[in-house]
């Protein structure tokens, strides 16, 4: 019943969505073609993108890693090392099993955090933004992502030669 309603609702919404998408589709290419890129706004260069994933379930992390690597393959991004530490991080909490005394009997609780590391090389600024946004949007629940970007820059002009007057 719910399903039926949802499909109904979907079909009602569909024309509007399609119209909107058509609109954006017609306007987008023209925009891209016409708009000149200002010379001052050069694309950034990133030599390396390191992604650290943290999660409670290693299987979810593995699936997500597969997804990210597949997406990188489709987008033509060079994939580097992809690895996981052999052991998870265990956050342990030891308490007395009893309420009051009996110190010999304890209960131990633990929270495990699994890690996964992905590396990608040689991304331009626009590729980086596209790729990162795509994989971040599809991040499953219960997984935290941390992306370290190594940007390449030229030496600033005022540092390229020794100062003349000091």
């Amino acid at each position: 019943m719910l399903q039926l309603w949802k499909t109904l609702r979907g079909s009602q919404l569909a024309p509007a969505v399609r119209a909107f998408s058509a609109l954006s589709a017609t306007s987008a290419p023209g925009k891209v073609d016409v708009e000149p890129i200002p010379a001052s706004e050069l694309d950034k260069l990133y030599s390396k993108l390191e992604i650290e994933l943290r999660g409670v379930d290693p299987a979810v992390l593995k699936s997500y890693t597969w997804f990210a690597n597949t997406a990188a393959g489709h987008l033509g991004i060079e994939t580097g090392k992809c690895w996981a530490p052999r052991k998870a991080h265990h956050d342990r909490l030891t308490l007395l099993k009893s309420v009051h005394i009996y110190k010999k009997h304890r209960a131990q609780y633990e929270v495990r955090t699994y890690f996964y590391y992905l590396t990608y090389h040689k991304l331009t600024g626009s590729t980086m933004d596209t790729f990162l946004e795509y994989i971040e949007r599809n991040l499953p629940e219960g997984v935290a992502l941390q992306a370290s970007k190594t940007e390449l820059q030229q030496i600033p002009e005022h540092l390229s030669k020794p100062p003349e007057q000091v």
Binding site: L45, H74, L75, D129, T130, L145, Q153, I155, L159
Partner: protein
């Protein structure tokens, strides 16, 4: 309840009328007859009356049948085999058995029993699924977003070329958590690293620069790393890191007046030129020479061996080299 009450009221009324008619005889005869007849009927009807203090429900009202709408069969039964799955499951969503035409089972059971099926299975709803990220879906989406990507420029294929053209590396970190806020205090940190050989120095400036940056310079890899995290925003930290680099670089070319007063005790390495060893060697070489004649300076090899001996410490190699240089300087033929 109400029916009982009315009947009881009627009865009491009848009794009342009867007593009145017997005693007062004020009523019309027709009426009296009628009443007596009624009273007889009543007595015949309820000869053994039951005193019912607690009213018992006579009739339980029939429960209204709850009309339920017929539940349609699962949608997955009507799905075509070659349907477009990306349209059926477009986004992240908890598992729903009626939408997934797969005979899934999940759960631990005792040996021999089948695992619980996909219907009414909470375990399948809990685990994050990737049903919206099937390989065709990924390909489709990647093809759509590929127009925003740009290729890596030519001429920067290897790391050496990258390093040559772009020596400065800036490392920033983004965080993605499942929180109502997108701010993360750790994201403000900016690391700027640079190979020191890319900057041009003179001897004094280099010495002063290394003293200014201190621990941030790694002797072994020749890399200067500046970590800035004192400002709240990433942009501010980046600007601050570049400011630090610039300020240190320019400051290192300034020679302060007090720098001239640097004594021998302040020197961090032994310099042959500024020490007694040079004077002694010159004195030996210029023995008995007149004042006007040109002085003979000790050779470069000797100076180097002395510096090595004192800076690196006394070891076999250094001592042997020192001996060789001394013998050479004094023109003493080697014995063996």
């Amino acid at each position: 309840m109400s029916a009982n009450l009315t009947r009881w009221l009627e009865r009491s009324l009848h009794n009342c009328h009867a007593t009145q008619s017997r005693t007062a005889l004020r009523l019309f005869s027709g009426q009296q007859q009628q009443q007596q007849q009624q009273q007889q009927e009543v007595e015949e009807d309820e000869e053994f009356r039951v005193l019912n203090l607690r009213a018992v429900k006579k009739q339980v009202a029939a429960r209204r049948e709850i009309k339920r709408d017929p539940v349609p069969p699962p949608r997955s039964n009507r799905m075509a085999v070659d349907q477009d799955w990306t349209a059926a499951w477009p986004g992240p969503r908890s598992f729903h058995p009626a939408s997934v035409p797969l005979p899934l089972r999940q759960g631990y059971t005792e040996r021999g029993a089948a695992a619980p099926s996909k219907f009414a299975n909470a375990e399948l709803m809990k685990i994050p699924n990737f049903l919206h990220l099937t390989p065709p879906a990924i390909r489709q989406q990647c093809e759509a977003i590929k127009q925003f990507c740009t290729p890596w420029p030519k001429g920067l294929e290897t790391e050496e070329k990258c390093k040559h053209h772009f020596p400065v590396e800036v490392v920033t970190t983004d965080f993605c958590h499942s929180l109502p806020t997108i701010r993360n205090p750790e994201a403000r940190r900016v690391t700027v690293s640079l190979k020191l050989s890319e900057l041009k120095f003179d001897a004094h400036a280099k010495d002063k620069f290394l003293r200014l940056v201190g621990e941030r310079y790694n002797q072994e890899t020749d890399v200067l790393t500046i970590v800035a995290d004192r400002c709240p925003m990433r942009k501010q930290n980046y600007d601050y890191a570049l400011y630090l680099l610039t300020a240190c670089y320019h400051e290192s070319f300034i020679t302060e007046p007090w720098e001239e007063t640097k004594s021998e005790a302040d020197m961090e390495v032994y310099h042959f030129e500024r020490n007694k060893a040079k004077l002694s060697a010159e004195a030996i070489l210029n023995w008995n020479e007149a004042a006007g004649e040109t002085k003979v300076a000790p050779s470069q090899g000797y100076a180097k061996s002395v510096e090595q001996l004192i800076n690196e410490g006394e070891n076999e190699y250094n001592i042997a080299k020192y001996k060789k240089e001394v013998l050479k300087m004094l023109n003493i033929p080697v014995a063996n």
